[in-house]
């Protein structure tokens, strides 16, 4: 078959794996300034699957789509450095404060605008919200099938993909017709490192806003691939009511700071008597029962 047009949904997230003391503000919201912004880890697993799909189907292209503030253009560049071909940054005040519903709505509108695609690959969930909802919601809104918990795309057929899913109690192999949405688990292979030539080729890639901000420091090379497409609410067709805070029914009621109490670890032998002891202990302290 001829090449596939692959869209990867990616998100820039605060690095919650390296949380310091000032990670939360007094009002219980995330202090984004104190946390370095990174490429959401499972979106990197998704990107790797997309790149493998591209490798095994010559002529394919990988396009990144992300929504976020201006600095989320870093995500697009990171993707380009690792082998993606192009990217779109969805950025506008109107998108701000979106929960998963409003996010998936905006992204599905952008996907409709891109129009020509065969498969959408996304990470299972982002480490800031851990909802795992955006991928599936995008599939529903566009009205195409979805395969969640994917670990590996095994085979490309004429108009379908064969996908291995990693589930709690085993592995399931499914076949999905194209176009479809695939969300990828963290258990999938790590993303390949940056490629030297790609880094040198794309390091000058900027969005229009970034070019403006850099003003005279920016050198225009007249190379189209160095323009990262930046879409505002005016560039895609949307119902404004469904965007951002307005379109988000999720209201945060309360955030609690949990401090782990356990001080010591306990080793339990993996034999019958060890498990027996553990069960008794869990029942006696009312964890089970």
């Amino acid at each position: 078959m001829k090449g596939l047009k692959i869209i990867v949904l990616a998100k820039q997230v605060p690095d919650t794996r390296n949380v310091g003391k000032d990670a939360m503000k007094a009002d219980g919201t995330v202090n984004r300034a104190a946390l370095p912004a990174i490429f959401n880890p499972e979106d990197l697993n998704a990107l790797e699957q997309a790149l493998r799909l591209k490798d095994s189907n010559p002529g394919s292209t990988v396009t990144l789509l992300t929504m976020g503030p201006g600095r989320a253009a870093e995500i697009i560049r990171e993707g380009l450095y690792r082998g993606a071909d192009s990217g779109y940054l969805l950025t506008d005040r109107a998108f701000a404060g979106a929960d998963t519903l409003a996010t998936s709505y905006a992204i599905s509108c952008a996907v409709r605008k891109i129009k020509d695609f065969d498969v959408i690959v996304a990470g299972r969930q982002a480490i800031d919200g851990d909802t795992a909802q955006v991928g599936p919601q995008v599939a529903e809104k566009i009205g195409i099938p979805q395969v969640t918990y994917a670990e590996e795309i095994l085979e490309t057929k004429k108009s379908s993909l064969v996908i291995k899913r990693r589930l709690e109690n085993g592995v399931e192999t499914v076949e999905a017709p194209l176009p479809c949405v695939i969300t990828v688990n963290g258990s999938a292979p790590d993303c390949r490192p940056r490629n030297a030539k790609a880094v040198m080729k794309f390091k000058h890639a900027r969005t229009a806003t970034e070019r403006q901000d850099a003003a005279e420091d920016y050198i225009d090379l007249g190379r189209a691939y160095l323009d990262i497409a930046e879409w505002s609410v005016n560039d895609i067709e949307t119902d404004v009511e469904q965007l951002g805070l307005n379109g988000s029914p999720t209201k945060v009621k309360k955030i609690e700071n949990v401090v782990f109490q356990a001080k010591e670890a306990k080793v339990i032998n993996g034999d019958d008597s060890g498990i027996d002891e553990l069960m008794k202990e869990l029942i006696s302290n009312h964890t089970l029962g």
């Binding site: 490192p193 490629n195 030539k197």
Partner: protein, 568 residues
């Protein structure tokens, strides 16, 4: 995310040396490639930024893939299956990651799909890889053999082989044989020209061949029947795809276990002649070896870096007598000495790499156009410096590497002797650096000319004349005294007018010169960045007393020492 390049700022410091401006301008020919290749730099700053960003990729792969694999690679080693080498799982994984990241053919021109990087950033990549796993640099780093094809092969061979190296194929240099180790003039492997098909065929045995089953091998063979010296040898390319070579055995070694050291049997293996007949050893191998020696110097510095870090980490953690052992003078002195020698040998490494860069860039330009007189003079000057500094860097840094590995293990105490800590592997890996690509004793043979002809002395005077901050004058004064002492010692040895007597004191004199050169380099480094201050002070204290001991040995020596030390 851990990154070996970012956590080792000394590399970026050396990358931004003032001479890089010249090197980049020469290497990029006024940035002519920017119209033809989308990854070519626009100007000097852009090129430097590219080196920085690419080294960051190397640092990432080293910290997160190569280093974590090192232990299992050491435990598994390569396997011999039906006459072919299968790398340890981790070795293959490392190689795949570096190939995917486009880190092959780093120094090759873009027309052969290379990155066209100078030797300096390439050497930094080798430094990083060696810190992560010294055995792996022998597989990945043999890409520098491609430089020899680039320099001496014809255009068809360059197109054919260099693009394959850039694409990820590995290389080997097949020089040594059971009876031709240090003495390569004794090479026996036979190359016969078949008039019928107009091809060369190789027959014989090669031994101790690193990555002997690589895709593309440079083979030194006897093409002139009836000869017995170096002038009967030519250089050939053997392509693994053609067949005819089998691996008879993989050696069982003390260290760098992940690197397959092979014994090869050539049975009518077809091969292509490189350049001209009879120049194999006297011209091409010399060039090949100089590149390889710089590679070993980088490997030595990388291993020394890991030895130092292991020692520092352990000394801070390990408590005895109620406090971390780093608090005891016996331990902190060792650590400061390690760091000083590490910084000194790294500085010498990159000084050498810069000299090689300037002269090689001119050499390649001279193939495109005739050089102006000043350019020719400059090329000659830098070639001389490169030839003089390469054995010095290889000899000294490999000895420093062993010293650091020894001290690092010592700081670990009994734990260091166990397989539980990486230092046990590092210690074993370090040992080869002062042996292969010419033992330290042979580096001294190559470096002694720089002592007797006054080459090093001239360079010391150059360093002495450099503009430095007033607060560094004290250190310069110490170095001036050390230079006088060195001059006196050299004069005394030469005045005896006996070659064996010069050989007898050769290592002492070369090491004295090396200490002064490294001392000056640290002065210049500190002049650019005060973070080297401590290393400068510590290094000079040690170097001064080491040189004094050697000067004393020479002062109280005469020709009768040859008789005294002669051992039957």
């Amino acid at each position: 995310m851990d990154n070996f390049y970012i956590d080792n700022p000394e590399l970026k410091f050396h990358l931004t040396h003032p001479l890089m401006k010249k090197i980049v301008a020469l290497k990029e020919r006024n940035f002519a490639d920017k119209e033809k290749f989308d990854y070519a730099p626009l100007d000097f700053e852009d090129a430097m930024d590219s080196y920085d960003k690419v080294l960051e990729i190397v640092g990432d792969i080293c910290a997160n893939i190569v280093a974590p694999n090192a232990e299992s690679v050491d435990a598994e080693g390569p396997e011999l299956i039906d006459g072919e080498v299968k790398y340890a799982r981790g070795t293959q994984e490392n190689l795949d990651a570096l190939i995917k990241a486009g880190l092959m053919g780093i120094t090759l021109p873009r027309q052969y799909d290379g990155l066209n990087f100078p030797i300096v950033p390439y050497t930094m990549a080798a430094d990083l890889v060696s810190r992560a796993d010294a055995s792996f640099v022998n597989v990945w780093g043999l890409q520098d053999c491609a430089e020899t094809i680039h320099e001496f092969a014809d255009e068809d061979q360059k197109k054919h082989y260099l693009t394959r190296v850039s694409g990820g194929e590995t290389m080997a240099m097949d020089l040594t044989e059971p009876d031709a180790g240090s003495d390569l003039q004794a090479v026996q492997l036979k190359a016969t020209f078949n008039e019928k098909d107009g091809k060369w065929y190789l027959n014989g045995v090669k031994r101790f061949i690193t990555n002997g089953d690589g895709h593309i091998s440079l083979v030194l063979a006897r093409s002139e029947e009836g000869t017995s010296d170096g002038r009967g040898l030519s250089m050939f390319i053997y392509d693994r795809k053609c067949g005819g070579v089998s691996v008879r055995r993989i050696e069982h070694k003390l260290g760098i276990i992940g690197s397959p050291t092979c014994e090869l049997v050539f049975k009518n293996a077809p091969a292509e002649l490189v350049g001209q007949r009879k120049l194999g050893l006297i011209k091409y191998v010399m060039a090949l070896m100089n590149g390889a020696r710089l590679g070993i110097a980088a490997q030595s510095v990388g291993i020394a870096e890991s030895a130092y870090r292991e020692a520092l980490g352990y000394a801070k953690e390990r408590e005895q007598f109620g406090k971390p052992i780093i608090k005891f003078p016996a331990v902190y002195e060792m650590l400061s000495k390690m760091k000083a020698k590490l910084d000194a040998s790294r500085s010498l490494l990159y000084e050498t790499a810069r000299f090689v860069d300037v002269y090689k860039a001119y050499m390649h330009i001279s193939e495109e156009r005739t050089l102006e007189k000043e350019e020719r003079d400059e090329m000659k000057l830098y070639q001389k410096l490169a030839d003089m500094y390469t054995p010095l860097a290889k000899g000294l840094s490999s000895e420093v590497c062993n010293e650091l590995a020894y001290d690092s293990l010592q700081i670990h105490g009994g734990s260091g002797f166990m397989k539980d800590y990486p230092i046990e592997r590092i210690y074993r890996d370090a040992r080869i650096t002062s042996i292969y690509e010419g033992t330290t004793q042979l580096q001294v043979v190559a470096a002694i000319r720089g002592v007797t002809t006054g080459g090093y002395l001239k360079q010391m005077r150059e360093y002495e004349a450099a503009d430095i901050k007033p607060e560094l004058q004290t250190y310069r004064r110490i170095l001036i005294q050390m230079t006088e002492e060195y001059e006196e010692a050299v004069e005394k040895v030469i005045s005896v007018n006996d070659n064996e007597y010069i050989d007898f004191h050769a290592r002492r004199m070369v090491e004295m010169a090396g200490n002064i050169v490294m001392g000056y380099l640290l002065v210049l480094d500190t002049n650019r960045d005060s973070k080297f201050w401590k290393s400068l002070e510590v290094f000079l204290k040690i170097a001064r007393s080491e040189n004094k001991a050697k000067a004393e040995m020479i002062r109280f020596s005469n020709i009768n020492d040859l008789g005294r030390f002669k051992h039957e």
